[in-house]
Structure formats: C-alpha cells, structure tokens
Symmetry: D2
C-alpha cells in the first residue's frame, strides 16, 4: 500500500533490536525455503516436508509478533494519542490486521 | 526424519504435475521472503509487512495442500491397503500431521 | 448435507469410545459457552474472556481430531479400498476438509 | 484471572452495542453446540460434523473480534494514555493475546 504521495508507507519508528532480530529471522527463513525446494526436488516423504513447512509458518509468526509489538508501541500509540478519530481508525485497522494475519 | 537405514525417507510416489507446481510456488515464496527482508530494511509500515507475511503463509498452505493430497493418494493409500496395523499407524500420523501443519 | 435420498448422511461406522468422548467434550463445551455468556453479562475483562474463548476453540479442535481419525479409519478407508474413482473423490474431500476445518 | 482484591477483573468500559451483539452470538453458538451433540448422537457423517464445527469456530472468532476491538478502544487506550510503563505492559499483553487467541 502506498501513502497519499505515492511513496510506500513507513513505520513511525522501528526499534533497532526488533529490526535486527527480524532480519536474522528472515535470512533463516530464506534458507528454510531453499531447503524446502531441495526436499521437493528429492521427492522427500510428504509428511517430513509438511513438518518443515510448519516450522517456516512458526518462524514467520515470530516475525509477525515482533512487528505487531513494534506497531502497537509506535504507530498505534501515536494514533491513539493523536485524537478520537485517528484512534478509531487505528482500532479498526488493528482488529482487521490481527484476524487476517495472526493465524 | 530418517528411515531405518539412515537415509531420508522418500515419498512412495510424487505426481509430476504436483511436483512442478510446488517447485514454482517455492521459488515464488523465496522471492517473497527476499521482498520481506527489503521491507524490513526500509522500515516499511508494519501493517503492510504483516499483509505480505499473510500472503507468504497463504502460499505455503497451497504447497501443503498439494503435498497432503499427494500423500493421501500415494503414501496413505499404500499403507491403508497394506493391512490393519499399517493403516492404524497411518491414521495416527495423518491426524497428527493435519492438526500440526494445516493451520 | 443430505445424501441422494434426502436423508442426512451417516458415518460408515463410529467407534463407541470415540463417540462417548465426543459427547462428553461437547457437554463440557456447552457449559463453557454458557460461562462465556455470563462473562459478557458481567462486563468481565476482555482479555480474560478471550482466554476462555481460546479454550473453547481448543476443546472443539479435540472433537475435530477425534472425528477426523474416525473418518479416516472408517469412511476414507472404505472409499480408498473401493476403487480408484471413489478414492480420488475421497482425497479431494479430505484435503478440502482439512484446510477448511483444522485451524 | 482475578485482580489484586480477588474479584474477577472488569472491562474499563463495554459499548452497549458490542455487548448485545456478543450476547446474541453466544446464544446462537450455544444452540450450534447442542446441534453438534445431536449430530454426534445420530452418527452423522464426520465431514458434515466437521463443517458444522468450522462454523462454530467462525462464530467464536466474531465474538473475539468484537471483544478485541472493545479492548483496544477502552482498556488498551486507557493504559496507553496513562504512561510509559502501563503502555509497555499493555503491548506485551496484546501481542500475547493476539497470537494465543486470534487463530
């Protein structure tokens, strides 16, 4: 999604620790996905591939949790402190986001 | 997991079409994960990254569905036709697999 | 869903133990849902109600696992042993069922 | 969970409309759970029961969304406006809650 001026939207702020942890997680996830490709190439047992897929889902959820916390701390808090209508918009966005992404 | 002789377990059979579709999906997923790394590097808006993560989850589930179908068609069917005790072991493995991986 | 003659479809067979466990689980779930109503009536803290909802989800999944196992053991096995076209229909139904219900 | 004085914790506030919608949803869910008991009693086809279970999960998630929105609007906002340490505690509680309950 883009902001009004066509630029991609930016976070209000990102904690350095959170950012570094997520970069590490995503590099590891990239490796896991390449591992999955090799398992498929090798006709590995489907249940073993599914176990590996479950672990990628889990790793992605860890990235999501970190982002969600950062989002609450910086973006949501900024909106909530700003005023009633900004806050209302943020509640809707959060609920929508939670139920769409936290599975 | 390894089979009795220490080799990684293999699928009883893999349909060529299913294998090719999964290779394509996984290459696309690898690209999406690299895209996620760039979004994190650029401090993109958390909700936008979470949306992208949701789409990787969805793409992984499509790989899982394809594997699950192949597993039922070849591995599970072979076990179920083999005899009662092989079938019982397969039911347990399937239920366990489904509730661990299909989220 | 109804079968061809308009009657609700029946299971090929249901293990007595599985059936009894599920009846107990569902009675307990009914009690939990009444407890939820009371929590809502009493304006209880939202996070505490959400915790209780998570526990109903978990209890429902236990019913689902039991049914899934029984389904594999009786209905799916019958179809798979019957012939190729019955088996193919069953694979599709199972994969669809798993990804729709096992969350 | 109980508050410091041993009483169950209460919501900071609950919107009347949200409360009424959730009471209606929970009464309907109670009926669905009784319907599930009858399906189990009648040895109904497992896949049909699983479909009905999926619909109870969905209905519970609607209750959860409503509660989550109310929680953000009243309880979380109160904590976030109160000060840094209350806000930090609320972020942790929210992230935990989301990933435990929103599935």
């Amino acid at each position: 999604m883009a902001s009004a001026n066509g630029e991609p939207r930016k976070a209000v702020a990102v904690d350095a620790g959170a950012k570094e942890r997520n970069r590490k997680r995503l590099r590891r996830i990239e490796g896991q996905v390449r591992g999955l490709q090799k398992m498929v190439d090798d006709d590995r047992y489907c249940a073993d591939i599914l176990t590996q897929i479950a672990s990628v889902h889990e790793a992605l959820r860890a990235v999501g949790r970190e982002l969600m916390r950062n989002h609450l701390k910086h973006c949501a808090t900024a909106a909530i402190r700003q005023g009633q209508s900004e806050a209302e918009g943020m509640y809707d966005e959060l609920v929508e986001m939670v139920y769409r992404t936290a599975r």
